[in-house]
Assembly symmetry: D4
């Protein structure tokens, strides 16, 4: 049920054409798909712009397949992240038309989202941060954004970023992925004027405390305007980029 349909229903109640009880029932039953072990939120796209994604970690293969199938039926597309080997295998068997992105551990199936005029620069401090960065990039592309990877551009070799500045200045949003000292977003936010989304990774020696060090660095970035994500959460970065792109598009349309 989209916004227009909702509006019609409410006016119909006021007009006495629909009984309040009937309306209640329709509103109550429609937005969820009950699978017994899960209740899918089919109206999420209506409210927050993107349909529910499937968090694969810890889910049983059979449940994963059932959830993905149901969401695919409802939205003609589905995105699953953090897939573990068994889950990925089951999904690929059940949905042979799906695309599997091994480095990102992401599976996409169905029609991608409509392309948006928004270029995302995905900056990666070190090679070990690649899986998280790929999750961000693959999801951003799935959401219709352009994603350009820049690998091994950490602060320890500042020239690697500086030589990329001309390209970076063309992007609309920057996602900076870094573990260890997590210093990359500060550098980027000091060089560019676009929103910088910072994703700490759990990569590092002992005192990185599984990403805590990088997370704190990013929260304390000296350059203001840095949006911090949870540790290893590349998907969240892509969603925020999509929200930024959408809000810009809408404002452009309003003009």
């Amino acid at each position: 049920m989209n916004r227009a349909e909702l509006d019609t229903l409410l006016r119909s109640v006021a007009a006495g054409e629909t009984q309040p009880g009937d309306a209640l029932e329709r509103l109550a039953e429609s937005p969820f798909a009950d699978l017994g072990f899960a209740r899918l939120d089919l109206h999420r796209e209506l409210r927050s712009g993107l349909p529910e994604a499937v968090f694969g970690q810890g889910k049983e293969p059979d449940d994963l397949v059932a959830i993905c199938r149901r969401l695919l039926a409802a939205h003609q597309r589905v995105l699953a992240t953090r897939l573990e080997p068994r889950g990925a295998e089951a999904l690929r068997a059940a949905l042979p038309e799906a695309t599997w992105h091994p480095r990102a551990r992401v599976l996409t199936c169905g029609t991608p989202h409509a392309a948006k005029k928004c270029k995302v620069a995905v900056l990666v401090a070190g090679t070990s941060d690649l899986p998280v960065a790929e999750e961000a990039a693959v999801c951003a592309e799935w959401f219709g954004l352009g994603a350009e990877r820049h690998i091994d551009v950490g602060v320890a070799g500042v020239h690697r970023v500086l030589e990329r500045l001309p390209e970076l200045r063309q992007c609309d949003v920057a996602i900076a992925v870094a573990g260890m000292d997590g210093a990359l977003p500060t550098l980027i936010a000091g060089l560019l004027s676009v929103p910088v989304i910072a994703v700490p990774t759990s990569v590092g020696y002992g005192a990185s405390f599984h990403g805590l060090a990088a997370l704190l660095t990013m929260l304390n970035a000296c350059a203001p305007g840095v949006a911090v994500m949870n540790i290893d959460n590349g998907y969240g970065a892509a969603v925020l980029a999509q929200r930024i792109a959408s809000t810009g598009d809408r404002r452009a349309l309003d003009t």
Copy 2:
């Protein structure tokens, strides 16, 4: 020195009209204003879209006045945040034309930034979170954005947010400010499709650990697309909102 001027200088070196040494000197000296105890970054706006702001906390009144005067001379505007009583007093005496925002502890002076077509909804979980929220709102307005406050809309009284939904759906960016359990951004990001900027505050009982609890909640928000700021950092939220607005504007212009 803006981008065009820079370009001219470099071409002049290549043409042999300017000696490399002379060019070096000009480039080296220009972008900074050296006050002895501080070196102001006059090119920050060129690079990252906003001029350097003054972090008032812990600065000596005399230094504050000198810094603000120098930035005002360079940019025709200055913004000072986190002002302590003595600093605020000194600045207000030295810059009688400035505006003092007491609840936000912010001082603005000079020409505000050009207005942008971007509405920011500033949602405040509880009354005690107001100073941080005001810092965000005042700064956003200074950067040319529209800021609409929504006070006391915490999750514990979810109807207070729900009745605001029609207005909230008009905003381009939402800033959610909350202490204690910090649950507000999850709720908002589940209801709106715009970027949600989450600012944890240091308000709360013992186990809030001066904002750590709210910070962790926001980093773990179940609704994706939440941009988390440092504790009590309303200014950072406003800068991110400004960056989002700018990137949208630019993309609109490109069309």
Copy 3:
């Protein structure tokens, strides 16, 4: 030995019918069952309303069987939680009449507790929180309470809870189980007037720190009256619900 028996014994000492030494011996020996590697507390029900339960994690299968058998003999019922595969298998072989609840990893055997007139709503934020929620629900049912599951009702999709309000308003106690941001109990305690028991789970990305984030959120819930449990402790939530039900029953009887 129940309260009445205890009273008789003490009076008998005062009357000179029983020697203090003999009474001492009876009192000293009776309340425990010594298995060598464990001393079971057979009087726990007398004191605190429920017999000792068996915490299965880390116990050797043989020990588990011996403990459960001894408690079964004493109380005609036994409850074992957190069973690991080997332990569950051994118990199911040794006690074929037992019921095994696989998702909750709980085994019950013997006569359930007498039914109480108390409905418990078990609210589950996300599918991954199900095992903990099931532990709470199965234990509550074993203690004679009614348990109603509400799955996928997290704050990120607030409408999923709101549509359940009529049913939720019928419950006597609510147990809210959530990982990640742990925001659910705040929402529930703001909507209902019954006691809300909050169980944080260890589900989440890096900065959930194995449930610490959800735990802190719940301790800082803006809505007062939230009873917080240890991370993943569904059993504890059920025990508290049972205590709440019992105290209400007793006061009802007193009338």
Copy 4:
């Protein structure tokens, strides 16, 4: 607006007697009192059983007086906690009929809540924990519960608790307040069958980390069924006790 009034309004919309827009306005405007710097939730009692209380800490005296007056007008009663000296003084001057509880730093004004048949035992580990315990006891009494203080009954002198057992066995709910090692709730929950509410306090030597040690102890209580509160949150304990009393009462009425 109470439940009955709400029901009437909704039926009137369905009957065409009230325009949806008018109904919206009435519903939108009524449940809140907007004071400019705060929006009071006048419907909280309707939803969650108790009217909004005033958290005094950090609030300006004038704001405190305005908020208390408005709530008093709406509910004929008001409760303010965590009052600092200046705030308490202002309130006592503005509301001379109010009662000031200095040790608890609580002010009550107006008609207390109707008495409930529920005895709360407030157990206090050490003298330094008294302010938090008094906050719990005073609030419980204000909510219509009976509160019986038991001072200096910490685990280090276990006989002090044991000699109180006959009295303690008469209570319906126990609130155990303790700092330092926070061991009291485990002991109490092992001795009584009623719900035990545990309140850690910030009292202690260095490694108590302002109450963290006691908080962790209580979350890990070996005796199950312990409801843990935030550090120093006596008020929250009283609210939970009130909710337990209410749910019992309701079930008693249902019989």
Copy 5:
């Protein structure tokens, strides 16, 4: 080289009978046994009362055997703790006369230390704490102390400790081993006048944080005079008990 021999050597230098260089060499070479990958401290007993023990965890089986053999040769006895399966197996094969204590994961070989007139009560809160408690008890016995186990005497069932008081009052030192809330040492130190050694274990639900909760509880024990050990360090508790026993013996001898 014992104290007497050392004294002789030094006097001999002063008398000119031994060259300083020669003395230096003797002193330098003697107290260590160099195995290439380890340098054993053969004088530790001379200085601190007990020979070096072998910490088995993480050591290669071959290295373990070499170290134990060398220490056995030097002291006619050896004690190895925290043995992992492979190490234990290798040691038992290499030293068939050794005694293997499986629950404690401790191996002892050679002549036990001379018996001391000192009774140690080892109190164990729960069955899961047994391995740590056994490590303490086995080591204490090896050091010549008497060790009496008291299992399942946690605070949640306080009567289990109280019935043991007559026996406990006979002990010279108490070792209290507890995980989860770690409340046992407070109780014991309030009941007995002997030194209480507290050993936190890593047993517990999520918020025990692998023993941190119990550790903090013990450091904050309300009853003074509690000696706290590292998490799971039963061996350390036994060494402290041995030191207490020795110092008492020495003072007894001095009389």
Copy 6:
């Protein structure tokens, strides 16, 4: 009431000479002194060897005086620690015969405990650790032990300890007080065979985290047999030393 009196009473109940109810009353009322705001534990010495001490921090001057007077009446001696200026002043005025130890912030009054044949070496790493060390030394002396201070003997200047070895070898118990790196106890426990009591202090630069660093160092001391106290808890160290001395004495008597 001491042990002998207790024994007589119990036999009298068995003989029918005393009614159980009367006995109950005598037992219930005697061991506590109720001051309204506190219940003093007058039997603590009976159970745990030392009478209750008064923790001065945070107590009101009037309460302090009342408590000290009552304990003085019961035991003919009283010890108050952690006295703040106002409390110390009030006590010294009320008890002019008391002794005030300014550096230790301790007040003693009445008959000291009987001297015990036990020498305590109090080792102090740095001058800033002196107040905590003095608290330990003054309390130990009050308990009848001999206390010998060794100042500025931290590990950074290892020769300062080594030159003291002959004296240190005469002590029965060592108390090592250190902030910053907290390394002193490891060194001492490696050099002496007596029990080593480690007291971390809150002295240090930022990353000492108010004593946490020193506390962790001591818990991880490589030399086994170190008894760790709470941060800054010199009093606790003295109590443990007293317990060690007592247990030795008792065993000496038994011979």
Copy 7:
């Protein structure tokens, strides 16, 4: 491209012999080797004195081989650390001329760095710290420094260090590797006048928190002048030693 070549190029631009665009291209392309999944920094040696090393942990064997080959081609040498079994095996097969250091988990291949006149003393507190210490020693030797191991010289047996003083006084830099209490660097920095590099290891019982305790100890070392590394980071210690050696050499050359 080395410094001289760079200088020539820049002068050529100024002389009009090279077009700025051509120069840009040469500078932009040269310093990196792009392998698709990684961009190697071939100029790192130019800037920071040592070529990029390969962090083996978590890297795929094939990627490891490709990276090592490329660096070997560029620099005629390569160093790989933290190699896991599969990676080590693949590298040894692909580079049969390489040297494999099993205890250090380090592989070196090609021409070692030119020998420097700098002796490094590597002090190891306990046998379990050996792998980290070996990583430091092997890397230091690869960098051309002399490395002398001193095993089992922890503070608990202070004589083991003291007897080594004559040798230790000959070293130019000391690296102190320690887990558990991490006290060794304080001792060393108090005895020697050279730079002391402290490496905490993750070795220890529960409350070492995987090296956090040792790390904090070292940061708080009472003896000033201690350089602290990340937990288990032996390689970092070697790099710092190499930098210290280089700066000394350079100053020596300047003379």
Copy 8:
């Protein structure tokens, strides 16, 4: 007593010219100055290259004066750091010839250390980090090193560092002082080949946790060879720089 004198004494013992007891006494008494409340380590320079400095924080003014006078008498120079206003005032009155460095809160008196050929670059991320940086610079100058300040060169404005590269390349040691994100040392260690000493400061918003964030960043610096100091410990950085300079000098002399 210097090394030569020590050598003579020992030979004299061997020759029978000095009794061992007399030698013992001389050795025992000489290296310390006992002031009652402190024992100064007069041999520290002999062992570790620099005389004891005075840590001013928390010391009583009279004690400070006595300590400084005694050290001045022994070494003809004294350095006091972390002076609080009262202490600074007292010292300046007592030692009118001393130099007071207000921003660094450091006082120096007497003959500075001999100048060394070693240039230290002190890099300061932000103005608020100046006091810590000044402490480092003033102490380094006192130790005879050259110190060059570079203010406001944080990573957020990377050009400010890059334009300083020619000067920075001349330094022998770099000290990088930064709060908030603490990213500066990574950048510097990637650009220079000299030892980089990193000093985190306690400057920052909430989630800097008083310097913890910057500390962790520096420990995790991606560029290897960074020596990390305690939070705000500028003095420690200067001592390490002095040790590096000395070791280089010595090796230069050896040539």
